[in-house]
Amino acid sequence: MHVHFLDPYRPLTSPVHALDGRVKFILAVAFILTVSLTPFGAWPVYLLLWSIVLSAEILSGLGVGYVLRRAALALPFVLAAIPLAFTTPGTPWLEFPLGPWQLTLTLDGLLRFANVAVKSWLSVQAAIVLASSTEFRDLLLAMRAVRIPRLLVAMFGLMWRYLFVLVGEALRLMRARSARSGIAQRPAAAPRRRPGGSVAWRGKVAGGMAGNLFLRAVDRSDRIYVAMLSRGYDGEVRSFATQPVPPGARVTLWIGLALLGLLWLGGTLVWG
């Protein structure tokens, strides 16, 4: 099985894809920061932020549906904020008993919960547009541009290069496990008995696979190191000189930052 299904990058031609990766990276982080700084209850600002990220989704040709489907994967964490709806003091809106507790849903609490959910939802959309429209190589360049240590960026790059190799090994290990196990029907005589061993036994099998993967990775890193040495690696990570950001992208960057700054200012002035 080919494992590039993991890579969220979608190669399309669109103004968003064509934009310099460094500009996209900075704008996406600035967008998430603006969302985070927007005060509670500044719904108009959230609406405008949403229209910005929605525009980026449409412009990029990724499609709103694609981004929303991926964004849904990050949603379960919203559970962590649900207590807010019940613990924030305010006008009681709905009261209902849950076991021994009497839960009071307040309007303020509900709004606070919505505020957290909206923030999270907008931020994850920006991150999805960034990851889906930027090749990993350009993300690495962007990280170099914002002064993330060269060594760390080199490790990110090496990890990405071998990720698909090792995911392939993990998938082969899993296929081998399924092949050995078969899929047993539950025996009719004892329908409650699960096929396969105990949980601890299954955990040990999965652990053996993880150990196997680790061992292969360590051995592979030895071979990679020797291959790097034979190509003249001396411990210094070198990269191509980066091109300056083209003037058009520079203009986009400043316009985008100014827009986000205005939204932040407006939000803090009126609702802060």
């Binding site: 405008l48 412009l59 931020s123 991150a127 993300l139 090496l158 999965a206 890193s221």
Partner: protein, 317 residues
């Protein structure tokens, strides 16, 4: 399977800006130190070893096993990495894994990455090391000691890291401590068992095939004493602090409120539209309607422009 959201990765929007930035600063300092130590210990070998191990942990997170009722146990890897390569390289490996997860797979937010790195790369590794090193010394190198220490280290790293995540949420005012701490701690006390089982399985495999990788006592790790103390400190602090915070959520709420007040206190400085000019509620409703119209116009404009350029592109082609 790969994009399964892990409950430990905090997305953006759940932490207040102040908390996010504080943990970014702490994580950057920890990471910078770990990078320097790794460079000293491993030299030029570090880039290939760290990169490939990070890829292995990432891929290893796919290896799951069914537990019951559709839930499954899987690996997070901080303890395994700590046991195999020592604390400083493990911090670097986990940082690489968690950062790429956030950047590419949206597993955890970008602004929240600082806090996630703190929980999974720094706390996860320090607590693993503290538990593993102490238990290995106590069991005096017995081979069952390896597995018992591995299990305990894996479980503790998950559990303590989840307490840290719960406290960060409480500190941000997102989730009250008396709910977040038991909920996160309870879920992760179970997840930690899965992590422990896989870690033990991996150690058993490595013990059988490549004893020199896991058999040696971990005292060989240079500068391990500092990490050991850090792990002890974090484990003590969090296991004392979180029940306290959970019992008296007022303390954390007070902090969160102070933070809210700080943010609110800025407002009067530049309150451009005083409430007496426009009644507050109609002002907000009006603004919402205006923003709605403006937003719709923006999106509509983009759609029309895209459609126009698509069509002219097709006509030219």
């Amino acid at each position: 399977m790969f994009l399964r959201p892990a409950p430990m990765h905090i997305p953006d929007g759940f932490l207040s800006t102040l908390v996010s930035i504080i943990f970014w600063v702490v994580s950057i300092m920890g990471l910078a130190y770990a990078l320097r130590r790794t460079g000293q210990d491993l030299g030029e070998r570090q880039v290939p070893l760290m990169g490939v191990l990070a890829a292995a942990i990432f891929a290893g997170q796919m290896l799951n096993f069914s537990v019951t009722g559709g839930t499954s146990g899987h690996l997070l890897g901080a303890a395994l990495a700590t046991i195999l390569v020592g604390p400083w390289p493990a911090v670097v490996v986990m940082t690489t894994v968690v950062s790429v997860q956030a950047l590419v797979f949206q597993d955890g937010g970008l602004l929240a990455l600082g806090a996630n790195l703190f929980n999974m790369a720094i706390i996860g590794v320090a607590v693993s090391y503290f538990v593993y090193a102490s238990l290995r010394r106590l069991t005096r190198g017995a081979s069952w000691g390896l597995f018992a220490s591995g299990f305990a280290a894996a479980w503790a790293s998950i559990f303590i890291a989840s307490l840290a995540a719960a406290l960060q949420l409480a500190l941000s005012g997102t989730s009250p401590a008396n709910l977040a701490v038991p909920a996160m701690g309870g879920i992760h006390a179970l997840i930690g068992i899965g992590e422990g089982l896989i870690t033990v399985g991996a150690l058993a495999f490595l013990f059988a095939t490549r004893r020199e990788l896991v058999g040696a006592a971990p005292a060989a790790a240079k500068g391990g004493r500092g990490v050991w103390a850090l792990g002890l400190g974090i484990a003590l602090l969090l296991s004392v602090l979180s029940p306290l915070a959970s019992a008296n959520p007022d303390g954390l709420e007070w902090v969160a409120e102070q933070q809210g007040f700080l943010e609110a206190a800025r407002a009067p400085l530049f309150n451009l539209i005083p409430d007496y000019v426009l009644p507050g509620i109609s002002n907000e409703a009006l603004a919402t309607i205006l923003a709605g119209i403006l937003g719709t116009l923006i999106v509509f404009g983009v759609v029309v422009a895209v459609a126009y350029f698509r069509r002219s592109g097709k006509a030219a082609a």
